[in-house]
Symmetry: C2
Subunit: 281 residues, 2 copies
């Protein structure tokens, strides 16, 4: 495939074009000259695992990550074992798809529980069990700290510092972190934690989208195109570069309006914003 | 006034009974046996400053805090001087009302700006100017870290640790911090930062309300009665007590449904939740 000018590091996270099948998304990347894609497991399952891997390989589109494993905070042992098995499956899928990065959204409080400290310990325990398996498959578990407004229902890992505390209990090739602009931009320790992540070779992925206001009725869907909101992408991208990260910059948009836009148009916007805000000189 | 059993430390933050005038809120506290009230400046202005002070004093209702100063992140010098003058006025009002605690919501990004680092520096600069004046009036500026989802539009101070970094540049009697459950409950460093705040005698106020889901259309209004959400108040209240804080526990609810409930009924709920979740043995 021919890569679009200035887009050598751009990756389309597949949720951004939610209406597209995996096949359509890979075709869209080729047509737009976007060299990589972050896949979602439900879309991979729809396409069939072996076929999905072949589609990407044949098209020459790199798989930057697989979304997602995690949800490790189950309330009882049965659910815990199910979560473990599901994460093992996700690790194998990542390996087959040819990506070394499995994004983990660790899960929120177990239903009815207010034991946040306990839930965080459970995540640490589960990471201890999963990390060696990831290592066996050459896959790195990428812990994604989610914005603190998702602490109760999605991820009890809320800061980059906390994600690094968890990751550093394991070899860097087994566990890393995701730096997602939307989730971490507000953090007063951001500069220092990005540097720490880089120094330890822990940055597994750099994901971008913008913080726009007002928050929508479903707070999950408030992410805007890079440049439409309040995040200083020049500043953040320079910090990530200084930390030594030279990998993919993946655009992950949960946004009803973007989802209702034709995929080709969304990809054109992605390229334009990438060139304007993320290619640094 | 006769204090309701178990409610010796309970304070009604006036925003919780938004429909009430200051006079009605003071009367409501007396009737319910709630010994303290956190006042809001707009309601004080409505009642008249001297009259508001007298109403509280005559009723024997303590003023636990005044809400609020802050909004220090103005974009230009004119707005900056106006913010400074407004905070001086707030300090004097707090002194006249007989409270030693002026809550500060520091302000979000200046309009059109993405310079979060710069805005945070500006807050630090303004604190340096304001703190001695507060000291002159025997008032303590209580920096309130707001939940990170308010970073862009309301408060660039997002964590207790960051608030303490700002406060510790000044004498403890001039600048403290607010521990508000809603804003800090998710913080992985919460236990250690509450202990740090206590060790330095920096806890100026303990405010409570619960994190409930889903977030409402206006994210500002999502705060629930203590016990209705995901926060472990036993755990948090024990940490605050271990830190040596023995002051008021102020209930501050931004919630349309609560605002549409008769004030007497809201105060009855406050007392019941206080006894159940906040009185520790």
């Amino acid at each position: 495939m021919k890569v679009a000018e200035g887009c050598e590091r751009l990756s389309l996270n597949q949720i951004t074009t939610k209406g597209w099948s995996l096949e359509e998304a890979v075709r869209g990347c080729v047509d737009a000259g976007i060299p990589a894609i972050g896949l979602w497991r439900d879309k991979v399952a729809e396409a069939g695992l072996a076929r999905a891997a072949r589609l990407c390989r044949d098209a020459g589109v790199a798989v930057s990550s697989l979304c997602r494993g995690g949800f490790l905070t189950a309330g009882d042992e049965t659910a815990r074992r199910a979560a473990f098995a599901d994460n093992l499956a996700a690790i194998e899928e990542a390996a087959e798809l040819g990506t070394d990065t499995l994004v983990l959204v660790v899960g929120g409080l177990p239903s009815g529980s207010r034991d946040l400290v306990g839930a965080r310990h459970q995540v640490a325990d589960m990471m201890g069990e999963l990390a060696p398996h990831a290592g066996d498959f050459g896959v790195r578990l990428a812990i994604e700290p989610l914005h603190p407004m998702f602490c109760a229902d999605r991820a009890v890992v809320s800061t980059l510092g906390q994600a690094l505390d968890l990751a550093e209990a394991h070899p860097a090739e087994q566990v890393g972190v995701v730096v997602d602009s939307y989730h971490v931009w507000w953090d007063p320790e951001l500069e220092q934690q990005v540097a720490r992540a880089g120094a330890g070779d822990r940055i597994a992925s750099y994901q971008v989208c913008d913080w726009t206001l007002p928050l929508p009725a479903d707070a999950l869907l408030g992410r805007g195109h890079v440049g439409d909101g309040h995040i200083d992408f020049g500043w953040l991208t320079d910090r990530v570069a200084e930390a030594g990260y030279e990998g993919w910059i993946e655009v992950e948009l949960f946004n009803e309006q973007v989802w209702n836009t034709p995929g080709e148009q969304t990809l054109a916007t992605l390229k334009e914003r990438h060139r304007t805000h993320l290619v640094r000189r």
